[in-house]
Symmetry: D2
Amino acid sequence: MATYETALGASTPDTITLLGTDLARDVMGTVGFGELAFWLATQRRPSPGETRLFEAVLAALADHGFTPTAIVSRLTFLSAPDSVQGALAAGLLGGGSRFLGVTEDCGRFLNAVISTHPEPDDWDALALETVRAQGKARIPGLGHHVHKNGDPRTPRLFQIAEEEGLVGPHLQLFAAIGRAHPQVLGKTLPLNGAGTCGAVLADLGLPLELLRGFALLARTAGLIGQLAEELRNPVANDIFLSVDTNTRSVAPSQE
Amino acid sequence: MATYETALGASTPDTITLLGTDLARDVMGTVGFGELAFWLATQRRPSPGETRLFEAVLAALADHGFTPTAIVSRLTFLSAPDSVQGALAAGLLGGGSRFLGVTEDCGRFLNAVISTHPEPDDWDALALETVRAQGKARIPGLGHHVHKNGDPRTPRLFQIAEEEGLVGPHLQLFAAIGRAHPQVLGKTLPLNGAGTCGAVLADLGLPLELLRGFALLARTAGLIGQLAEELRNPVANDIFLSVDTNTRSVAPSQE
Amino acid sequence: MATYETALGASTPDTITLLGTDLARDVMGTVGFGELAFWLATQRRPSPGETRLFEAVLAALADHGFTPTAIVSRLTFLSAPDSVQGALAAGLLGGGSRFLGVTEDCGRFLNAVISTHPEPDDWDALALETVRAQGKARIPGLGHHVHKNGDPRTPRLFQIAEEEGLVGPHLQLFAAIGRAHPQVLGKTLPLNGAGTCGAVLADLGLPLELLRGFALLARTAGLIGQLAEELRNPVANDIFLSVDTNTRSVAPSQE
Amino acid sequence: MATYETALGASTPDTITLLGTDLARDVMGTVGFGELAFWLATQRRPSPGETRLFEAVLAALADHGFTPTAIVSRLTFLSAPDSVQGALAAGLLGGGSRFLGVTEDCGRFLNAVISTHPEPDDWDALALETVRAQGKARIPGLGHHVHKNGDPRTPRLFQIAEEEGLVGPHLQLFAAIGRAHPQVLGKTLPLNGAGTCGAVLADLGLPLELLRGFALLARTAGLIGQLAEELRNPVANDIFLSVDTNTRSVAPSQE
């Protein structure tokens, strides 16, 4: 007979524990939500500095205005206002490889390099080698279609990491890639914020397989903000109508 | 030509703002994640006391062990490990009327009473009237299938609300219902934690239509914890096999 | 120890059965997909006439161009092209009360009347009573925002039902409501196609709780068509950009 | 100003067209649901033989009993019975790389070989070369954990394809792989049904990027069957309880 083990939530008639602590007494009123999310993901309670850095990442990723995921969430809420869970879930489903994936891709990319070069003497040499080895392949986290001269989130994340003594190998390699790549690519691209978030999350020891999950957690808060704004100042129907009125019916075309 | 207004995220090549503030300078490193989620939902920055109470609610709702939503998220991750967003979205889709709905139902129920009785002289009299008016209908937030003698989260939420000076009409009415209902129902039921969370969220001025959304936000953090644990100590395949091996094929039966 | 019974798919090392029949020999190559969907839902194999009528309903609901659900599916595919399941799921999540709900609402509404008036002498009298009893409440299935002079799908569904001898009480009551309502409402509204589909599905004996499910099944085929077209002739990025370029950043406004 | 073109659904006040035809007159009552799904995906109306083969694939993939996706759908319906769309969407989200992905993986794998060897003189030689080139990598569609001596769906699909004159290069290569692989692998594995479905769908000219979509369409019908059965003979709560009662709370363990 299988037994299913968990260290997360558990309850008896008189108690509720979470992560081995008394939920009501030791978590509620004491542990912030970002801190709790970190703790749940790692089963290790973060330090105040780790929490601050982690929450800075979540803030950086929470909302970017009318992204496809925000539009999707609002349109789904328009169609099915009785199901808030459906509107949020639909929005999160856009969190795949293209729009929310950079954070995870960058964290994994840096981690793959570091795994095989655990304590490099020279970060710049390793970065140069890394950029060269990519050849024509894109380096995750490099470049931004809007912030061409620099993503304002990037220096802020490095600053907070330094203030908290949390600049680890992923951030170091990423910074070095920022210095080294112009030599190889012949042009200077900014280190984008989403990629820097991935480096930070990897340095914080969060599970690499779930880095995208933290972008999604941040985005859940953002999507609730989008739905709240939609309730006050609706735009989803206008978006739908702007598509509808500009639709042109054409003859079928086979592949 | 339609224009789409938003006060949430916005960016120019050199700046990123969120809620009218400079994201990198004034939010990242300064605003906690719970505080930010509140701010995004109301477009009003909460006080420290409001943030503490709000985060206590999120902690209360984050994870309850192997609930259906947790099982769903793990099984979906087993089937489609390439899509973390799908596993989280599938888990959230269980956040409907039955398992995560009490928070919203209770907040809305209390709010409906208060809307028509804005400043009652006597909360106990109003509670008695409210319980009587329900007849045989269930009062959302009353009773718990496990914590029959009291849900440990409930007194803690009242305590924090009192400490922060945030006991509003929803909590007052809910407390009074806790005192009044035995007289009508002939038995004493505990005020459950999920319902108390709804009363708190309503007192905090969060949008009633989205109360369920905050339960889902809390649960997103919990589900990431579930997936992280599944990666370390997998159980989803065992759950699947326990169903598979106990399946019995029967003849079709028409309705 | 719980046992889980099912009459649906089952397999042994040498056989696969579905609904008690040999899948490979007796279903594949013999049973059409609409017929199979009906059979799965009712555990009763439909007659050819029932299948034809059921498939006419699915055709009526499969695709309506750039609806919110189609836009959502395309935008999600743009954001997460690696997850076709996510794009389809996101599109289906808009199948709630507003855009795809009429079919179920109408079927349930008619069924509620018929349950209490199983064999009326006079459908027109019952319809008149029904319309009057609604007062100012909307009658599901009545009216269409585009097809104001009549929805072309409605007479076709009645015609097919008549050809197949499958005009049951739901269609009879719905037709009678079509005749009776002008007398009460003072204007003539068309019986819309989505509502007629609900009447047909209820007459076919499909489970009322899942009528929306058949609209979703039809829509799944439509959404695959939308994604296939998006691959050949992409528009999702243009839709996103048209929102993006018409966005106006405004100051936060509290509720 | 962007214009959005579509050849799918379109309507004017008096007409509804689908794929350039009159929906009510020329599709409803005439075109079966499988045929329509094919037509929507390719914008080409299939022949009766193509329809029969396509519907055989859909039947082969519709339901396999209590798979993770079926369990997920039932548990989500238990938690949120008000949202059928959520229960179906949650079930589909398990249609990723592991459980429903073989169909797409196999179709793409065969197609990649054929793209570079369009008209081979000798299928067996090409198959041998293909199997050898895989080295230790798994060949999609080869092997089955239950049907070790042969998947009953496979010969049936080949038979129907032959009857309809639709054995194309994907099926030919797949059959040849079935003959060639023992020579390389030193053991005989069956060609599984899901993989054969992928070969068939590719031969039918359906878009490779969406092969998984057809498995999901088939599964949507299956999941409606699961939910209908859950309504009549519920098991989801028993599944939940069997997990709940076998849960063991353990101490947190950090990664």
